[in-house]
Symmetry: C2
Subunit: 365 residues, 2 copies
DNA sequence: TTGAAAGCGATACCAA
DNA sequence: TTGGTATCGCTTTCAA
């Protein structure tokens, strides 16, 4: 007998015992519980009853070793080594995905690692055979996790896209370019000409697409792009504050801020106040939160609620995609087209808040 | 050969192959890699080099079956069946814990389930032998998960406490009672007499402790507790809005709100505005976020940042406790005193925002 | 419709 | 210091 056995005090019922109790073979009991057709209804019922009575659940350890499937999916969440912060958007995305996993009998392995150790973690999870599939969050412009996972030959879905990666892969994304193009147009329609863009880190793909949309809208109206009004940084509250502060202190300050996430927007709001401007009269703030189809004037609306359920839905859809991909792979189907979903962002600016403030004071035009 | 083997195209290197390549036995290779002393330095070096070269990682599936340990810890996060919302505080707590787990070689299994299925999920995770330990979030007044986990004989740490549970268990909590007592006193010092309390669900233990502290402070000053100024609900933005709206519409409205979480506080702020009151003049809002040692006047301070790093720290500490408990259990030490940590909440009201507004208008006294 | 036995890939006991 | 082998608890093949 091995050492570890001695540690188990109330030894959990296992297949062997259960089979013995029933006077059946392990094979038959296993088949009965897993719904194989070649079991008589009478035995199947007896087996189920006994399993129920003894509160039997097969050991995932043994099961995964025997089947070669771990029934586990990993999400690797990068934590910024600079700010030690996790984008809160992940929690709703994961909640949505988690629901889908439960339904399908998968466990969710959550791995929180610094940016710098991402690659190692992906490689580890796969090589240790810990997971059947992965979700990739926050891809960069040319994200090397994508070729890596291809090489490791494991199913994965990217939440977002990576413009620099040419090979095919499965993804689910929001149409960031279009969303920002429309938001910018909207502000232009209202008369704003000095529109600041507070964007995420320049290395991230979504930030690139968002700048793109913003610039496109400006150019279309013949408004010059002013590099001093564009900032790329990690999306912390302090970032919003500092950048907005600086921009507002110039002789030609912005009359509107287009902010990439709710976190820095909170900082912007504070900066507006500290600079002696009045929010809603001198300055507008419009935010777009990560992967959500939502734009709003900040401060007066049930923002969180709407944002969060949208992100949650994205998580649910990404999870469903991944589960389907794993299923196809296991059925031995080798080549099917990649699954790619583009969610269109809705603009709901002003719907329940009335029109956005229009720049009036002549000093700001 | 089993069926599943056929599915693995690029078969990962396993112990057998590695040992064969080296001309050693599996036993020796295993010992070398796991740092057992009885291996000669020469062989150990050769083994490590070969493992490195072939990118070998032991299969967690096989390893956990053989050792009886899964090296996995679960967090079960309840999702409200009513609002389908997850308390965002969990994400920071989990991020902190996740760091600690990585460091110690544990994986984190995250389980997102409706309130109603909590018990079943705990039982499942343990019976399926999926985890070596668990964190219990958001305990109720007499939480049945605690006796359940005792019965299942698995290490666990409760994030919070359960007043109705008399047996000993491991926990980490914030001194909620004292925090709310002090916050209320502070508002009383400033001259407020109509102080509203927007608390979490009455079934949750922390909400109970918070009411307690609030009431204690009022009674100590001879201010009667007005039940119309106390609300218990799930902490959504809308809840904050509706309740505040209603309270402000009475003939004797509150001059201050003490809010249990940042989410409803956002709603309160909106309600104050909609009701024609001016935030900072007619009405104060003080929030306390779950398990954080932080109170602030909302709206003008880098709230998120401070809140979040505090919660993150709690997660880190809870994880460290659990890892230690698991270690002790595995060393065969049977009875040690429970680990119990009470974190004191700091009040930082007014430190960087200046004094809180004092009620002035005579109609509100 | 049932059962016996060979894996799955590690660890750990016992012998050399 | 090394190796042979039983074992963990299942699934799956093959034979009856």
């Amino acid at each position: 007998m091995n050492f570890q056995s001695a540690l188990i005090f109330i030894s959990a019922m296992n297949l062997k015992e259960l089979a013995h109790n029933l006077g059946l073979s392990q094979t038959t009991v296993s088949r009965a519980l897993n719904g194989y057709p070649e079991v008589s209804e009478a035995t199947r019922r007896k087996v189920h009853e006994a399993a129920e009575a003894h509160n039997y659940r097969p050991s995932v350890r043994a099961k995964s070793l025997a089947t070669g499937r771990s029934m586990t999916i990993a999400h690797v969440v990068p934590v910024s080594s600079q700010h030690e912060m996790v984008n809160p958007i992940f929690s709703d995305f994961i909640a949505g995905a988690g629901e889908e996993y439960s339904r399908a009998g998968y466990d969710l392995l959550l791995s929180v690692v610094p940016d710098s150790e991402q690659d190692k973690m992906y490689r580890d999870l796969v090589t240790r055979q810990a997971v059947d599939g992965l979700i990739v969050q926050a891809p960069t412009l040319t994200d090397n996790r994508i070729p890596l996972l291809h090489e490791l030959n494991i199913p994965f879905v990217v939440h977002g896209r990576s413009s620099g990666v040419l090979s095919d892969y499965n993804w689910l994304d929001v149409n960031n370019r279009r969303a920002f193009e429309r938001a910018t147009s909207l502000l232009l329609d209202l008369g704003h000409r000095r529109i600041a863009l507070l964007n995420g880190l320049a290395t991230l793909d979504f930030a690139h697409r968002r700048s793109d949309g913003y610039k496109r809208a400006l150019l279309e109206r013949g408004v010059a792009v002013d590099p001093d009004l564009i900032a790329h940084e990690e999306m912390t509250e302090n970032y919003g504050y500092e950048v907005a502060r600086k921009m507002l202190a110039t002789s030609n300050p912005p009359t509107a801020f287009l902010v990439s996430s709710i976190i820095p927007a909170i900082g912007v709001r504070r900066a507006v106040k500290d600079a002696g401007f009045e929010f809603g009269r001198d300055v507008s703030i419009v935010i777009h939160d990560d992967d959500l189809s939502y734009f709003r004037n900040i401060g007066d609306v049930p923002l969180f609620t709407a944002v969060r359920s949208s992100v949650r839905d994205a998580g649910k859809r990404a999870a469903a995609m991944l589960i389907e991909i794993i299923r196809q792979r296991q059925e031995g189907q080798k080549d099917h087209p990649p699954m790619q979903t583009l969610m269109e962002a809705e603009l709901t600016i002003g719907q329940s808040t009335g029109p956005l403030p229009v720049p009036t004071s002549t000093t700001h035009t």
